[in-house]
Structures are given as C-alpha cells and as structure tokens.
Assembly symmetry: C2
Homo-oligomer: 341 residues x 2
Amino acid sequence: MINRQVILVKRPEGMVDSTITSLVYSPRPDCGPDQALIKVGMLSIDPTIRTWMNDAPGYLPPIGIGDVVRSSGVGVVIETRTPLYQVGDAVFGMTNWQEWVVADEEHKFTIVPRGMGLDLPTVMNVLGVTGITAFFGLTEVGQFKAGDVVVVSGAAGATGSVVGQIAKARGAARVVGIAGGSEKCAEVVEKYGFDECLDYREPRLAQRLRAACPAGIDLYFDNVGGEILDAVLTNIAMRARIVLCGAISQYNEMDRSRGLTNTSMLIMRRGRMEGFIVLDFASRFAEAQMELASMVMNGTLVHQEHLVHGLENAPDALNLLFTGGNHGKTLVVVDDTVKLD
Amino acid sequence: MINRQVILVKRPEGMVDSTITSLVYSPRPDCGPDQALIKVGMLSIDPTIRTWMNDAPGYLPPIGIGDVVRSSGVGVVIETRTPLYQVGDAVFGMTNWQEWVVADEEHKFTIVPRGMGLDLPTVMNVLGVTGITAFFGLTEVGQFKAGDVVVVSGAAGATGSVVGQIAKARGAARVVGIAGGSEKCAEVVEKYGFDECLDYREPRLAQRLRAACPAGIDLYFDNVGGEILDAVLTNIAMRARIVLCGAISQYNEMDRSRGLTNTSMLIMRRGRMEGFIVLDFASRFAEAQMELASMVMNGTLVHQEHLVHGLENAPDALNLLFTGGNHGKTLVVVDDTVKLD
C-alpha cells in the first residue's frame, strides 16, 4: 500500500542531479467518493518539465519544493467510484512522477482508446502531446503551405522528426533538419526522410543554411532557441514564419548573456515569430490524432521511442533530452503490465 | 544650372560624421521626353536612411558609394514633358538628398493634394510615411483592439507619438510611452496625451513596466529594439502582439553582443513578434491618410515638426534621430519657396 514518488527537493541550476529530487515512499491514496484510483504505467518525459522546476513565471506555476514532479503519463483505472471511468480504462493525464494517482472533478484524465492496433509507447509518442505539438505547430502556428522551404531544429527528436515528416507528406518544397552530431543527422535523412540535415556542432551554421536553402527559409520550427535560432534568422525568406515550440538550448543555461541579435531580419523580411503551447489546441486534439494515426497505420510516419525502465530513473531520463543521449521519444516505464491490448 | 547633391563617400561605423558624405555640385538634370523636372522643397529624415548606408541586406539595396543619399521628399514640378505631371504640381517620392530630380516611368512620384488647409510639414509628417507607418503598424500588424494595454517606444518621436494617439482615440485601456529623458517623457504625457511615460535612461525599466501595466502588455509598438524590447518581453500579456517597426537603438551599434534574451516569453504567453515595412501597405495608403487627416482637422491628433534648414545639414539632421536632439518629425528644408498653398 505504498506510493513511490519522485519529489522536487531543490531547484536545479543547470542539469538535474541527484541532489535535486528525492524518491520517497508515501501511503497509496484511497479512492474517495466521485474519484477513480489509477495505477501509473508510463511517463512522458518532456523538456518542459525542466522549465517547471525553475522558480520563474511560465504557462503553469513552478513545481513547489516538496511536491511530486509534474509530468503527463498513462495509467490504468484500478478502482472507481465515478461513472466517468471504468475499471480497466487506460487514461492519459497529469500522472506526475509517482506510481499511483487519483482522478476526480479537479484532476481529470482522458480515456485512451484501445483496439487501434497501436502499442502504448506509439500512442504516447505520436498521438500524445509530442505528435500533436508537431501537427498544430506546423499547420496552425506556422501556417504551413505546400511549396514551403521548411527547417526544423531538434530534427532527430520526438517532435522535430514528426514535423518534418508531416511537412514532406503535405508537399514541402524542401525539408532541412538541424541536429547534433553526424549519427543523428544521418538518422534524420535516412530514417525520417528529410532532404538534408545540418550538424549544429560544426562551424558556420548560418552559411550552411544559406547553401541548403538558397531561396530562403519560409517556415522554421524551432525546438531549441539560442544561437541556432539566430543563425536561421539571417536566412529567412519574405513573410517567413518562425514557430517557437521550445528553447531547449536555454533551459539549463546559467549564462544567457548572448541573446538573439538578428531579430531585425523580421523587419527586413516581414517575418513573424510566434510562440505556442499545445494545450491551446486542446479542443482540437482529435483532429491531429486522426491524421497522425492514419499516417502511422499506412506507414508514412516513422517514429521511435526510447524506453527507460523504473520510476527512480525519471530524473536521468529527463537529462537525456539535454545531453542528446536519447533516440526518439523518451518514456519512463513505471509498470510494464499497463498495456493498450 | 547647378544641382547640389549630398553623396555617400564612405560607409559609416556608428554615427554619420563629416567623412561619410560629401556635398557635390553637379549639372542640373534636363527634362527629357516623358519626364518631369522637379525642384526639391523638403526632405523626410527617417531612421531607415541610416540602414541603407550599411553594406548589408535590407528591404532595399544599400546606397552605393558615390550615389546621392536615398531619401523621400516633396518637390514641385518646374517643367514637364509628360501628361502625368503638370507644372506647379507638388509631388512626393524619392527625391534623394539633392536640389533637383527627374520623374519618369521608372522613377515615379505621387501628386500631393493641395487645398486641404494643411501645410507641407504637417502633410509630410502625419500624412506621409511616418503617420501611415503608425497607422498600419498599430491596426494591421498589431491587430489593435479596444481595451488593449499598449506600450510604445520612441513615444516622443514622429511615429511613436502618432501610434499612441490613434490607440487612445480607438479605445485603448491604457497607453504607456517609453522615451529618453524627463523632458521628453513630460511631452509624451502632456502634449500627446499618453497615460504615462517611462524614461528608459532610468534603471529597472522592466520593473517599472510591470508597475505601469500590472495586467501585462497586449500590444507593444517597437521603434527601438535592443534592451527596451527585452524589458517589454518580460511583461507581455497572453496573446501579446509585438510590432517591430524599427530598431533605432541598433542602427549605429558596433557591438551587438548583447542580444534579446527573453524571447521564450513568446512561448509562455503565446506572443507574436512581427516585422513590417510600410511600403507593403502602399495600395492602402489613402485609407490611413483619410483617418489621419480627419484627426488633424478635428484637433485630436497633435503633431510636431523639427525643421532643419539647408541641404548641407541633412547629415546632421539624420544624426538628431539617434541623439534624441529632435522634437517631432525631422524635415530638411531645401527650398522654402515650395509650399502647398
């Protein structure tokens, strides 16, 4: 009757190390009236979790010291005292980094459809927040249109790889990825079908972008921020759209003294730079999921998941996003008996 | 039969000094077939001229070394061999920094209406590129709506002062200016009717913006870029719109090592930052001019012009924009006999 939890004990400076979180043993919560008790199966490890650990204004309040680390995940309903959930339902929502969680009127979960022939990691990756972010970031915020020259950073990552594949499927003139290291760049081209991929660790990224996109970049999907965004700015085409999805290069940074210096290109080229949070599109998630599911089923969307086993390894899994040690969507398996079939 | 001209002889680093331009005496151009000969009366001195002096990509090519400095202005037709212009017409267009210019099929001018009861400096300020920039930047790029909290930098300047007054006239909840020095700040409030004006030369601008706009900034009209833009970014409201009109703080800068560091606020608050050039709205200029003219005539638009006499003083007039030594729209009087009445 124990609920293992990973709590935040100290705000990180830079990477999350062993002093930042603590594994604690709490009593398993009871299933009260109008509640359902959920056993957590898998956690979605997203860069945004790192931002919630800072004591800084954000789109959600910071995680409190002593609180369980906030995270989305999937679980299964074990006990229910509400007609909203049935025992055995697979549910998606804010499980946080723990083994057990309670659903109620204040803390709602979404029932995950079974029987699609897709396994849980695929659903959590492509049909979860990661894939939906790629979809709406490209199509709505970026106003993608056929014939666009598209550049995507974090191209080997869970979101970036999906962005590029949707752009190709919808008729982009050219899709160029940016990733770290020759191995990842090869993966972006060979596995995910981008036309080209540039290694940001090599010098002169701005010049290489110019060579890769001589007519300029119509749409840039930015997962990283920082110097890579600055290099892209010098190469935008007229009426370019820059989609700010994340700034992973900045999340662990202590010294931000070198900021963006090329934003005047937005004036010269009448460009637009716009940020978004996928939750803004919550009422339209099904639209994205339908298109993404059909792409997976007909084999036009290649995806990859990186499974880390054990709740206690969630902090290390989070660090993988920043070291680039992951391949594809990072998920933590808390209980491998939770499945979709 | 002389045409005095100010030509660019060297590209500036920083401010324009006496080594950058040269006053030369050329032969007065002839009026050829299908041409009209124009005597230049007044030059519009705009920050963008400084950007054209750099050898850098822009929305127009750089001014060539040895070329007359590019500038808009108003003149009067002295001789004509085309039905498009009549002798005595007042015309607006790219006169450049010189006394005489020829209009033809490649180099067109717009006829300025007479008889509106407005003098030439007023027309060149409010009904010229300056006022039109304020109008479309606020209403179209910024998508202004009644109830918005609006912040304007360069608020004592020709464009900024008009932006704030249109916003007030159209129902802004609050209009806060940013300007340099207590004298200019007082002018912004007392003369142009802004609710408040913050002096960017005083410390802690970001905190003072927070106090002035506790619910956040819905629309920021940016005339300056740099650190002021960065301070605004930390205070944007949800769905904020940042209109990039110019980055005057950057035009003379040699060291741009400190760039924008707060663009991740665009993600947190789903903000948009968009650049524009008023020429993009050329087909709709009359729409802006009608509204601006009616505001001037009914006394709801206060404006001010700063006249500098003598073509040879045009380089000093340009520097005034960057030192803040001007009050209102800076114009150079080349020939004070050119009038609208």
